[in-house]
């Protein structure tokens, strides 16, 4: 063997060794449960991993607009449909895709609702690459767990046990209102969706198609974030892909959002009273679609009734 071949084999062996090390360490570093104590991040959204298999009817993806606007326990209470908000603060689409992929390992929802604010969030190539690397080697995501590693992490299997009683919704009843005004002024302008975000939207679309899930694009009411140009951009995207698009910012006559009382931060996010209105509308929409069955009397879903009690206690402040 000549020196050049030896060198090439040496380089390849080094890389293979490194990949094996990454794989082994990823097994060690990945949280063994979906609780905060086990080192899981975004535990509320990741609470879906602890839900019983194939019990979720719909999944909601997106940024903070989702966990401020949709409260699945209200739909459970009114209609007996099960849903989960996998929304996190400033969620990027590569994270949305990851949440969906993880959820689909154990769940078979009929609908996925994609809140559209995340479609306009800037995603750098660098973060997208990192997200990809994290998918292959969770070591990159959970490397900071070195501080809390236990002996059991060395060979322990992953078992998700945590569930969130409000199903990803984050209760917030603070009022910090803003004057009611017309913020959706019709325009011909279209806000451009970046290539990188379009790529991830396509991934989510394909993932839904593959799993026979209907993807619905929804823009929740937000004075600070939404414009008619963005509406046009999403409408175009929906038309190109044959998706249903619901812009709640144009449904003021049905939702009756009062920006003086229904927002917690001057029109950026809704508060609880705003979320009740939005969720009420969504529940009615699901009812009209007629795809779901009422699980309230189903023995397999009794944990949801227990969660409802805790949820009601929380929102009533008692």
């Amino acid at each position: 063997m000549n020196k050049k071949t030896k060198d090439i084999i040496g380089c390849i062996s080094f890389m293979v060794g490194l990949i094996i090390l990454f794989a082994v360490l990823s097994v060690i570093f990945v949280p063994k449960d979906n609780s905060r104590a086990a080192g899981m991040e975004a535990v509320q959204a990741n609470g879906i991993l602890g839900e019983k298999e194939n019990t979720i009817d719909y999944i909601i993806l997106g940024d903070s607009e989702t966990h401020s606007s949709f409260t699945p326990m209200q739909i459970w209470k009114d209609y007996g449909y099960t849903g989960y908000v996998c929304g996190t603060n400033a969620q990027h689409l590569y994270e949305s895709e990851k949440f969906l992929r993880q959820a689909l390992k154990h769940q078979s929802p009929k609908y996925v609702i994609m809140e559209t604010n995340a479609i306009y969030r800037y995603s750098s190539i660098e973060n997208a690459i990192m997200a990809k690397a994290e998918n292959y080697f969770p070591l990159f995501r959970y490397h900071d767990r070195w501080k809390n590693l236990k002996f059991s992490d060395l060979g322990g299997s992953v078992q998700y046990t945590y569930t969130n009683y409000s199903k990803g919704y984050r209760f917030e009843d603070r009022i910090d209102g803003v004057e009611n005004k017309e913020y959706m002024k019709p325009t011909e302008r279209t806000k451009h969706i970046t290539k990188i975000n379009r790529h991830y939207v396509n991934n989510i679309i394909n993932l839904c198609k593959k799993n026979h899930i209907e993807l619905i694009l929804v823009s929740t009411p937000s004075i600070s974030n939404w414009t008619y140009a963005k509406h046009n951009g999403i409408q175009k995207l929906a038309d190109q892909n044959g998706l249903t698009y619901i812009d709640m910012n144009l449904l003021q006559d049905q939702l009756e959002i009062d920006w003086e009382t229904d927002t917690r931060d001057k029109g950026d996010h809704l508060n609880y009273s705003g979320a009740v209105k939005v969720t009420d509308w969504l529940g009615t929409y699901f009812k009209q679609c007629g795809e779901f069955t009422d699980h309230r009397q189903d023995a397999a879903y009794q944990s949801w009734n227990k969660d409802l009690k805790r949820y009601e206690k929380k929102v009533s402040g008692k």
Partner: protein, 530 residues
């Protein structure tokens, strides 16, 4: 690309350029480097690339212009009799000086306008307000191309060198353009000299296995310093410098030491990545650091810290000023009156004043940067003045200054003085700097170390332990290097299993203990902002 220690640079851009560079025939390699450099610049500063292009074309023309004047002078001199030669030389020196002055106006002028107009404008307005004049100058908010402070100095060094005839003007615009724009150096230096770098950059050598191994090892070491030490310290430093009013003197001392450590690890770490990147292409860049914390005096420190900036100021400001006729005259007069030691110090101090004023200003448009420069000037000048007395005193008490405990004492003293300077350097303005310094001196307590405050600044015990161990590792490497051992060459003589274990260890340390990912805010490169 936000920094050299970014995934996009290290895992995508650099390997891609390296691959294309090595696949293509030799004659295309410099062109690939040039195109990659412009792409790199464009990715950060977009259309401001035009500033770099104008600078490059401008020094290319100025270089050729100077050469034309010089060859014309030589022709005239050849035809002139001995008695008239002096006058001819003087005439042509004047003409060349006007060209150099023009170059300075274009390059330094652009830098002044883009970087300092806001600072000067604000100060002029304050003066006008104080004087009761109801006028104000408009404050411009201008975009600055990345690395302008660095490439302007490279441009000026080329012009000066052509003027001094130590370098021949380059007719090849591409070669000059690559010297100006080479992507590993464009953002944070080192500030290269045309004579040292242009030729090897343009040569297009194929990367050897040694280049690739040594370059990668150097990059790894730099990433280690930056993401394990500098970036992990960042949260605590930010908390202390923005909320200094809430903490005691002990914490101010921590702020000074931690920031000095961060700055060193950040800048020297980035330089390791930069020099390692160039090494991958077979290009040897000048070193910017030589274990500065082994310095026994502030003067020595500045020959080991940001070396290329120091040598630039030495060669193009200090020497010309101290060798100028008025200062030479002053020195010879002073020698006669106050002796051989103190005589030259007066002129030297005047030249040093200009150097340190520029040094302070180069780092940024702010009074605390000027203070930082003046602080070092005072320390250097004071040390020069007391030098004979110190020497005499130490001889009397039989202490050898270059050996044993006194040597260590000098190193620690220098390090502490540097930390104080960096406290002002990082402070949010000069007033804040003085407040922090005052607190450190007058309200020094160890309470914050015992009541848990130290662990409430964004770093817990384990963070401190990791930083301490990483600093110890860097210290150990520095000790070995300081003794003259080339650590990478030493490693290359070891068995493969040891070499690989060291590399795997460094990579895994960076990945596991690095301050990146979901719990950390990315830290912008500090020196890229200067």
């Amino acid at each position: 690309m936000t920094s050299y220690v970014s995934i996009l640079y290290l895992l995508i851009f650099l390997p891609a350029v390296l691959l294309v560079y090595n696949v293509l025939p030799k004659k295309y390699r410099p062109i690939i480097l040039l195109l990659a450099s412009y792409a790199f610049f464009w990715s950060i500063s977009r259309k401001l690339l035009v500033f770099l292009l104008v600078s490059t074309v401008s020094i290319h023309h100025i270089g050729l212009w100077l050469t034309a004047v010089q060859s014309e002078r030589n022709d005239v001199l050849a035809k002139t009799e001995r008695s008239g030669k002096k006058a001819v030389k003087a005439l042509y020196i004047r003409r060349q000086r006007w060209i150099v002055f023009f170059a300075a106006c274009v390059h330094v002028g652009t830098l002044l306008v883009l970087k300092y107009s806001g600072f000067f404008g604000r100060n002029i307005n304050t003066l006008l307000q104080t004087a009761g004049v109801g006028l104000s100058v408009p404050i411009l908010k201008l975009m600055m191309p990345i690395g302008i402070s660095f490439y302007t100095m490279q441009a000026m060094s080329y012009v000066f060198d052509v003027y001094r005839e130590t370098t021949k003007a380059d007719k090849n615009l591409g070669r000059l353009a690559l010297y100006m724009a080479f992507f590993p150096t464009i953002m944070e230096g080192p500030i290269c000299r045309y004579a040292d770098d242009a030729e090897q950059l343009w040569e297009g050598r194929r990367s050897t296995l040694e280049n690739l191994t040594f370059g990668t090892e150097r990059i790894l070491y730099g990433v280690f310093k930056k993401i394990i030490i500098a970036d992990r310290l960042n949260i605590m430093i930010k908390t202390l410098y923005t909320g200094y009013a809430d903490y005691d003197g002990g914490m101010m001392a921590v702020a000074a030491i931690a920031y000095t450590c961060q700055l060193y690890m950040e800048f020297s770490g980035t330089m390791d990545v930069v020099i390692g990147s160039a090494e991958l292409f077979g290009v040897v860049l000048p070193e910017n650091f030589r274990h500065p914390f082994f310095s026994k005096s502030i003067s020595e420190f500045w020959t080991r810290w940001h070396i290329t900036l120091g040598t630039w100021f030495r060669d193009y400001i200090f020497y010309p000023l101290s060798m100028s006729k008025p200062l030479k005259k002053l020195t010879s007069k002073a020698r006669k009156k106050i002796g051989n030691h103190f005589g030259p110090l007066i002129a030297g101090t005047m030249a040093l004043f200009v150097v340190w004023l520029f040094n302070g200003l180069w780092h940024g448009a702010g009074w605390h940067y000027i203070f930082f420069g003046m602080y070092h000037l005072v320390l250097i000048v004071a040390a020069n003045f007391v030098e004979p007395f110190t020497r005499e005193f130490l001889e009397k008490i039989h202490i050898r200054r270059e050996e044993g405990p006194y040597r260590i004492f000098r190193m620690i003293r220098t390090a502490l003085l540097v930390c104080i300077g960096e406290l002002f350097f990082r402070a949010e303005g000069l007033r804040a700097g003085f407040c922090m310094f005052n607190k450190m001196v007058t309200q020094f307590t160890l309470c914050s170390f015992t009541d848990g405050t130290i662990f409430s600044l964004g770093m817990d015990k384990l963070d401190f332990i990791v930083v301490a161990l990483a600093v110890l590792f860097v210290f150990a490497v520095s000790v070995v290097s300081e003794k003259g051992t080339n650590v990478r060459r030493l490693l290359s003589t070891k068995r493969r299993i040891i070499r690989w274990a060291v590399c795997y260890g460094l990579i895994l340390c960076c990945i596991i203990f690095g301050a990146y990912g979901m719990n950390y805010t990315p830290v912008d490169p500090i020196y890229a902002g200067f």
